[in-house]
Symmetry: C2
Subunit: 323 residues, 2 copies
Amino acid sequence: MGEFDFIGRHFKPLAGPGSYGLRNDGAVMSAPFGHEIVVSSDTMVENVHFLPDDPPETVGRKLLRCNLSDLAAMDAKPLGYTLNSSIPHKGGPEGRYGEAWFAAFAKGLAEDQQRYAITLLGGDTTSTSGPLVMTLTIFGTVAEHKALTRSGASAGDSVWVTGHLGAARLGLEVRRGHLEDPTGKLVQAYRLPTPRVGLQLGTVASAGLDISDGIVQDAGHIAEESGVRLRLEASRLPIAAEAAAAPEHFQEMRLLGGDDYELLLTCPPGHEAALMARGLIMNVPLTRIGKVEALKKGEKPGVVMVGADGKPLSFTTPGWQHF
Amino acid sequence: MGEFDFIGRHFKPLAGPGSYGLRNDGAVMSAPFGHEIVVSSDTMVENVHFLPDDPPETVGRKLLRCNLSDLAAMDAKPLGYTLNSSIPHKGGPEGRYGEAWFAAFAKGLAEDQQRYAITLLGGDTTSTSGPLVMTLTIFGTVAEHKALTRSGASAGDSVWVTGHLGAARLGLEVRRGHLEDPTGKLVQAYRLPTPRVGLQLGTVASAGLDISDGIVQDAGHIAEESGVRLRLEASRLPIAAEAAAAPEHFQEMRLLGGDDYELLLTCPPGHEAALMARGLIMNVPLTRIGKVEALKKGEKPGVVMVGADGKPLSFTTPGWQHF
């Protein structure tokens, strides 16, 4: 199998404007006048971020959606992406990661390219002696100096989250054989997150990010970058019904587990109605889960999650650990 | 070792404008008015693109330089890059790819960031059960619709190449123990290519690319995209002195082997003096090695390499095969 034939069969049909049909040293892109380009990148490794028997369609879509979620967190509009694949020789052309796998992988990407109005710009394909490794780097556009960041939260802001939490992390437990999933919704949430693009949060939210490593750990990034404390109420967290139905010992995982790809936002008091309107227009659930507090002298930025009695909960782990 | 600490120690010092200090979901960048952004991406895998005992300083610099070479091939000015690393757990923190390796890797990058006026924008760090995999995605700026491509060559254009060829591929043979390298220049060429940035070729050359897979294979891309034949004279190829000194049975490898990262250019007759002037100003050797010919009816685009007697040479392989 030649590299160029392989790219021609599977990736060329995904290529869009500026890609030169993937037959150039690089691609070109541009932002409208008064806009800048947002770039974000995620790598997924077989057995770390997906499992060898996950459907190839969803592996591609998840990789794209996790990156779209990063654009959403910065309030950027999708523009294009590059894809780099390192394909196991052993599982190569005739093995698991052969023609059929990549055909299905590309089909999944094609479907989401339509849905999110984005096309492939370029990338690289290599072989490896190890597991399948894929890097997707995504580009979006945002009005100059208007990208949403993690550093804008102020004392008095409210804290919000989109959608529902906990199902994706428990979906991984289902895949590992630790939990039943009669409706299939836990595994579905693990395999296909819903990036919250299009909410147009730039003029509404004061800070934002997407929850990939668990709400407490990620809320910590906003606290740290904004120099504040985030006080979250555990009882207000919009836990997905299927996740809430799991046995009690999954409680911590449900609250802190990652892979949700929902947005965590802070909102100044005057903007709450506008934020809720955005959610209604885009049909995205938005739940108020806490508030931003000022630090007293000597206090460090951080996150406090309180129970129904108002007392801080303590956890055995802060969230998802990469290594 | 935490992901965030690791990134903070090794990669944060490389981060530049728009990166938010690597503490955001993504980065921002913009092109000057009337310019667009060029993007190119390369993945390097341990044992495929570099060897585990290559100096870490040069592994990082080579990855950056190969990507800079792609920018040069499109006549783009370096702007920034993202870096994704999948680090072997087994060789991790206490192993080969631990703190010392990444400190040296980042030091090499820092040196070349200075040299080529480019900074880190973001990326991702994961673990893997396989070999070290690194993806670098580079961004540059070019005047709108002025990017040099592979499709502009016309019959009558001359064909040019920058620098010298053959040393890098033979450097790999040295590393494999198949060849002596008394001056060390073959291994040096393999480890540290010289990207030909800054030549400002956009208004001078008609087509261009960088030679990564061997001159005949890469010349074939220009022939294909431009619908022409490239006739190259083997005796005119600027083979590096150290490569020319290798035994006769390295002849084909010297001519066709990849990893040169020199630019292959075509130039309309009226622009040759301007092209040579660019080479003189930037102190980059430029050698005329052949010409572009029209296809006769029924002929396919392609490359002919002729010997001193004007007869076509034939080779056992077209160049570097990725898989």
